[in-house]
C-alpha cells in the first residue's frame, strides 16, 4: 500500500523485474508452510488482506494452507483508510472493502496480509482497525515484499522477499486478480536529486543485493517507461 503513491500502475514491462510469477508462487507456498509451522497447523488462524492487493494474496495463502493441511482457514479483508494518519495530506480517498469472516477474530490468530511493507504506517492503521473489530489472541504480519525504510517499530513475521531499496524507488506488485499478471517490479521514482534515498537497509536482503547498487541498476538504458524515464 505504502508504495502505491502516485499515478496508475504501469504495465508489466516497466521497471526492473524483481520477482516473476513462479517466484511469487514459490514465496507464497513457503509462507503458507511457515504459517502452519508457527501456528501449530493453522487451527485458529484468520487471514485478513489489506486492500487492494493484500486481499488476493490472503485468498491465495488460504488456498495454500488448505492444500497443505486440508484445513479451511477463514480469510477476509480489512480496509484501513479511515484509520490512516496521513488522511489530511491528500483529498478524501475511496474506501476499500472490509469483510471479516463470520467467525470473527476474538481469540484468533489474525495474520494481516499486504503486498509491500514500507513505512509501517499501513500496518499501524490496521492494528487500530483490528482493535475496533475484536480482540485477537495474536496478530502477525505477512508481506510479499519488505522494502525497508520503516518509520514505526513494526516488523513482519512472514516475508516473501526482502528487497533493499532507495526511498526514491517505487515497488510495484502486480497480481493476476487485479492487474492480469503476477510480477514485482522496481521502478526508479521521480525523485528530486536533493531528496536522495534514505539510509540503505543493512543486512535485510540476500547476499549480493547491496542496497546502494539498486538505484543505478534500475535505470535501464532505453527502458524509458513513463515513470522510469522521468528524471
Amino acid at each position: 500500500m505504502a508504495a502505491m503513491v502516485g499515478a496508475a500502475r504501469p504495465g508489466a514491462g516497466d521497471g526492473k523485474a524483481v520477482l516473476g510469477a513462479d517466484e511469487i508462487r514459490r514465496a507464497l507456498t513457503r509462507i503458507g508452510h511457515e504459517i502452519l509451522e508457527r501456528t501449530d497447523g493453522g487451527g485458529d488462524v484468520v487471514l485478513l488482506g489489506i486492500p487492494t492487493r493484500g486481499v488476493p494474496l490472503a485468498r491465495r495463502l488460504a488456498g495454500r494452507l488448505a492444500q497443505a493441511e486440508a484445513a479451511d482457514v477463514p480469510f477476509g479483508s480489512l480496509d484501513v483508510t479511515l484509520y490512516r494518519d496521513d488522511l489530511r495530506l491528500r483529498p478524501a480517498r475511496a474506501l476499500g472493502h472490509t469483510e471479516v469472516p463470520p467467525g470473527g477474530i476474538d481469540g484468533k490468530i489474525v495474520i494481516l496480509v499486504d503486498d509491500v511493507l514500507y513505512s509501517g504506517r499501513t500496518v499501524r492503521a490496521a492494528l487500530d482497525a483490528l482493535s475496533d473489530i475484536g480482540r485477537p489472541r495474536a496478530v502477525q504480519l505477512a508481506v510479499l515484499v519488505d522494502r525497508g525504510h520503516r518509520e514505526l517499530p513494526i516488523r513482519p513475521d512472514y516475508v516473501g522477499k526482502n528487497l533493499p531499496t532507495s526511498k526514491r524507488e517505487q515497488v510495484r506488485v502486480l497480481l493476476a486478480e487485479t492487474d492480469g499478471v503476477d510480477a514485482v517490479r522496481l521502478l526508479a521514482g521521480p525523485g528530486s536529486p536533493g531528496a536522495g534515498g534514505g539510509p540503505p537497509r543493512a543486512g535485510g536482503g540476500p547476499p549480493g543485493q547491496g542496497a546502494q547498487a539498486r538505484p543505478a541498476e534500475s535505470r535501464q538504458p532505453g527502458a524509458g517507461g513513463p515513470a522510469g524515464g522521468d528524471r
Binding site: 480496509d79 479511515l82 484509520y83 488522511l87 489530511r88 495530506l89 491528500r90 483529498p91 478524501a92 480517498r93 475511496a94 474506501l95 476499500g96 472493502h97 472490509t98 469483510e99 487500530d128 475496533d132 473489530i133 475484536g134
Partner: protein, 314 residues
Amino acid sequence: MNRHLISAADLSRQDALDILDTAEELAGLAGRQIPKLPTLRGRTVVNLFYEDSTRTRTSFEVAAKRLSADVINFSAKGSSVAKGESLKDTALTLQAMGADAVVIRHGASGAPHRLARWVAGSVINAGDGTHEHPTQALLDAFTIRRRLGRVDGLRVAIVGDVLHSRVARSNVWLLHTLGAKVTLVAPPTLLPVAVGSWPCATSYDLPAVLPVSDVVMMLRVQRERMADAYFPSVREYSRRYGLDADRLALLPGHAIVMHPGPMNRGVEIAADVADSPRSTVVEQVANGVAVRMAVLYLLLGGGTAGAATGDDRG
C-alpha cells in the same frame, strides 16, 4: 467532489456514486463491536437548525459522532438568533469558533448558498425552504440501490406535494443523474410552474402510473406550508393521491414504497401500507446515518491543502 453540498444538482454522476459506495462500506461497519471510527478526530461539525427537525439533526449528529468529530448543536430557539442575530453574524460567530463544517437547515431557500460565502469550512444543506435537501435524496437513492440492486433505468414515481417539497426537487435531480426515469404525480395546484424545465415527466393520475413504477415515493402533505387552498379537502386529496392497500396492489411485485417522514398516516399513505414489508421507511432512517457519514468523510476527511491555499474547488 465540491467543498460544499448545497444542491443535488451540483453532484456529478461520479460524485454521487462515490458517496453511495462510501456509504455502502460505512454501513457495513455499523454492526461492529465498536462502531466508532477515528477519522474526523479533532474536527468540529456545527448543526445550525433554524427549523424544527428531529430525524435529520439527530442523523447528522450520530453520523458526525461515529466519525469522532465534535458536534455543536445550534438551534434557533434559545440562541442569539431568537434575539435577532442575522444569518451572517451567526456565520461569522461559527467561523470564529473554528467550525470545519456547518450543517444548516433554514426556512429560506438559498440560505446555505449564502452561508457558503461567509464561512471557511464546508456547508452541508440539510433542507432550505422549498429548494433542496440533498442528503435525503442521497439516502433515498442508497435505499433504492440496496433494495433493488441499482438505480440506473428504474422508474420512480414521486407522489404528492411537489410544490413545497425540497425532497422531491433533490430527488428529481439526483435520480436523473443516476439514470432513473422520474415521474412526478400531483394535483395541478401542487406542481411548480417551472416543472417543465426539470428532467422528469409529470402526471395527474396516480392509478395509471403505479403499474409502471419500480419505486413509489410518497411525499408528506406539508400542512404548515399550506396557507392557501391547494386542494378542496384532505379527504379528497387522500382519495385521489393517497396510497392505500388497493393501490399498493397495482404496483409490480418487486416495487418498493418510500416516504421521507414524518408520515401523515391516513392522508398520503395508509397505515397498513406504511407498515407493509414493501415500505422502506425505517430503512431510510437507518441508511441516513451511513449516507451522512459518507458525505462528512468525503467533505472533511481529506486534506486541507485546498483550504490553505484559498480553495479553488468550491
